[in-house]
Symmetry: C2
Subunit: 483 residues, 2 copies
């Protein structure tokens, strides 16, 4: 590889990781008054990153690259240079105003004052799609930002093909869970004890605490500050140990992927995660397929009962019913495994219709509530529990939501494939999950962005994303109550 | 001011503050394995800072500046450009090796293996002094890095003029403290309770926790990550609340200075601290003149007794004897107020003699021990409690030590001048220290680096650094036992 391009890519990776460090500090420990100067620092770093990634040196250096690294960096260069500066700046300032308007609208529980900003963001998204180009419809160009190679039409067909099954499973799961009290597992859970359990569990799953850590934030996330330097965060409910623990297992899944990427290629696509749909497959795998399974709790329930006295009254079966209880919620981030995807299908349909022009912004609340009624059987009490609940649109993040369900579907497919390996399977039954991690490292992590997500799925499982394993998993867990 | 230079100085201040943020993360929360990539990030940032500060654009921009900002930045530019690249790189690599050799030598308690590295560092320091230039002796050029405008000969005269007084006060203080048990104030001190007291005290002194915070590190420090974003650190002894509390008051003093600098000039010398000798005057002021005073403890002892049960048996007088106990220690960082400067005087004489060539590196342990015997009356048990105890030399930090005693002397002089203001005095007696802070903000903080340290002292107190108030303070506290 050309020495100059190598240097340029290293500089970009240093700048990006430094920006991640400042972002992490801002979310975890920075004092409140640090915000405005922090914004200046970040804006400086992002400006410099954009400058380098759109520079003639970068363009010329692409020739010295090979294979996937050349393909991905050329793709990124083209996307970065195709947008006129005016549009980039307009998107940035519109997002800032939209975010403030969204905050206010949410407080007032009414969509109307946010509508003009969403209107502008949709216009900007269409303009971006036009500049970037697309084959079938503008939404393709947005989706591609998060899920390389994905086509809107294919995702739509996938989601349509499972919608009634998902709705049916959700309805059955909710009805069968009706007799389980929502606070069944609640009880005194001091933060210190939760931290002990979280740390022990994350470590047992293979998270490397020599290179990473867990801190506390209002909104949990996983961020990477250097090769294997992965920082997870969580929040604590002092009466419900499970909300933090499952959150930590979810973020640990993201973190294991990041720690499993090839460190020497940290500055190259070959050392970087391939897509959000694959990333989410890893978080959901460890949260749901491992963390809510019988073998996991055969091992860990006694430890949880040592730490949290109120759990001692439960048998393993009672406990499993508690952690796999299903209920409808108007709020996506509070949704359980059985009902989660319905929230995503709804958002995907609305986003796609907004982009194509089939839906007008002013009609979003009505469309949301109609679809919600269809899928969940009731209407949200107000817009803040409906179409205003997520931050994504206010940040211009259109095209993002679909990757959550792609992640769920991929997770089941990868889990099923891995479990065909007798060593993974046998050890899983004995609550030793390291062979499962090794399987993921071998089939997913080590490849970075060398393949498109669908190529990766095909190589790992024998087929591209296929919803059958996921539906089978949900049926087994929520209809047959077999954990 | 020229727009381009303004932009360049802003960029430099963004880069420096970002580097400080990475440094803070490294000392506080970064996982162990993050070190090597962090070094790459820091080296990149420092390289870029050096490049900008020695660029033709920077040189040309100096013309657009005025007054102290022009003077100080020209001085910094000249110092940065006078050193050949070869020397800068040699110093960096030699320091890295010297630091490792020092670590090892300290473990083995013998100076000899460190000697060849110190030899090289002394040679490098002499070369730097030659490139930078000096009037009287090479040491001037080094001292000036930390104490702008200071002359070695003047510092030496100052120190010589007080040496016998200091030694006499120390001897009397140590002898009078002999009946006070070293662990008089020790007792169970849970970290959480110490944190409560530290936070309450720092806040009452005026530290702005909206803009700053306190974390835990092995070696306490104060660092500034943005305008008023000041991060203090401390460490805890769970049987001695006072070691952390006085450490926090010391760092709070540094932090109040940083938070008192004019924020709009954050990127200019006029918004930056003027010297280490002035910085240390602020930390010592709050640690010793406030923190070890009778009015302070009239207010805070009852609160400390609420938090730490074992303190309830003490009267205020007994307690004050305990916190102002004096004893000889071979270790500088463990020294009390009465004996601290003797450690500095010793180091200053040895450094100066090494630079002038009057002392050979191989003779350092002998010279150290002889001088130590003369000042303290005993010889350190081995080199790790003697000439190997401090990290400064291994990092090439020659010329630094003098600023500790300059800080002590300045602190007493500033305190005496401030207390002549009736409002400061009256409030001080009632344990309201905000008027004292306002006095320091008015006379020291707000001026940034607009004046040389000695001009600042003169303006604030009517004379340049003068040891009489300090000697009077020590006599009052340690001979007359009047707190």
């Amino acid at each position: 590889m050309g020495g100059l391009m190598q240097e340029l890519l290293r500089e970009l990776s240093l700048l990006s990781s430094i920006a991640s460090n400042l972002g992490w500090d801002q979310e975890t420990y920075a004092p409140p008054a640090a915000v405005s100067f922090r914004a200046e620092q970040l804006s400086f770093l992002h400006g410099r990153i954009h400058q380098l990634r759109t520079s003639p040196q970068f363009r010329d250096g692409l020739e010295s690259l090979e294979g996937a690294n050349q393909r991905e960096l050329t793709h990124q260069y083209e996307r970065a240079t195709k947008l006129p500066q005016e549009l980039v700046e307009r998107e940035s300032s519109t997002s800032t105003l939209a975010k403030a308007a969204w905050d206010q609208a949410r407080k007032n529980r009414t969509f109307e004052p946010f509508a003009p900003y969403l209107e502008k963001l949709i216009t900007i998204a269409r303009e971006k799609a036009d500049y970037w180009g697309y084959e079938d419809e503008p939404y393709d160009a947005l989706l591609c930002e998060y899920e390389r190679g994905a086509k809107t039409q294919e995702v739509a067909s996938l989601f349509e093909s499972i919608e009634s099954d998902l709705a049916g499973i959700a309805a059955a799961a909710v009805s069968q869970s009706a007799s389980i009290a929502p606070d069944l597992l609640h009880g005194p859970a001091p933060v210190e004890e939760q931290q002990i359990l979280n740390q022990e569990v994350a470590e047992s799953l293979g998270f490397d605490f020599e290179a990473g850590r867990i801190d506390t934030t209002a909104h949990p996330f996983c961020t990477t500050l250097g090769p294997k330097d992965v920082r997870l965060t969580t929040r604590y409910d002092d009466h419900d140990f499970s909300s933090s623990l499952f959150g930590v297992m979810h973020e640990t899944g993201h973190g294991l992927y990041e720690q499993g990427l090839p460190s020497p290629d940290f500055h190259l696509p070959s050392g970087q995660a391939v897509s959000l749909g694959i990333h989410e497959s890893q978080s959901r795998l460890w949260e749901n397929h491992v963390g809510r399974s019988r073998p996991f709790w055969e091992k860990w329930l006694p430890r949880a009962q040592e730490l949290f006295v109120h759990l001692r009254k439960f048998t393993l079966d009672e406990f499993l019913l508690g952690i796999n209880r299903a209920a409808y919620s108007p709020i996506r981030v509070e949704a359980d495994e059985a009902t989660y995807d319905l929230h995503i299908l709804l958002r995907f349909r609305i986003e796609r219709a907004l982009l194509s022009g089939d839906l007008q912004v002013r009609d979003v609340p009505g469309a949301w509530n109609d679809l919600f009624k269809e899928l969940f059987g009731f209407v949200p009490a107000h817009d803040s529990e409906g179409c205003l609940q997520d931050i994504h649109w206010s940040m211009g993040g259109l095209g993002y939501f679909a990757t959550y369900s792609l992640g769920n579907i991929n997770s089941a497919q990868l889990f099923e494939a891995a479990m065909k390996d007798p060593e993974v399977h046998t050890n899983f039954e004995q609550a030793n999950f390291l062979p499962l991690l090794e399987w993921m490292q071998l089939h997913i992590h080590q490849h970075g962005s060398c393949y498109f997500p669908q190529e990766l799925m095909h190589q790992a499982t024998g087929s591209p994303t296929n919803p059958e394993p996921y539906l089978a998993h949900l049926r087994k867990r929520f209809i047959n109550f077999s954990q």
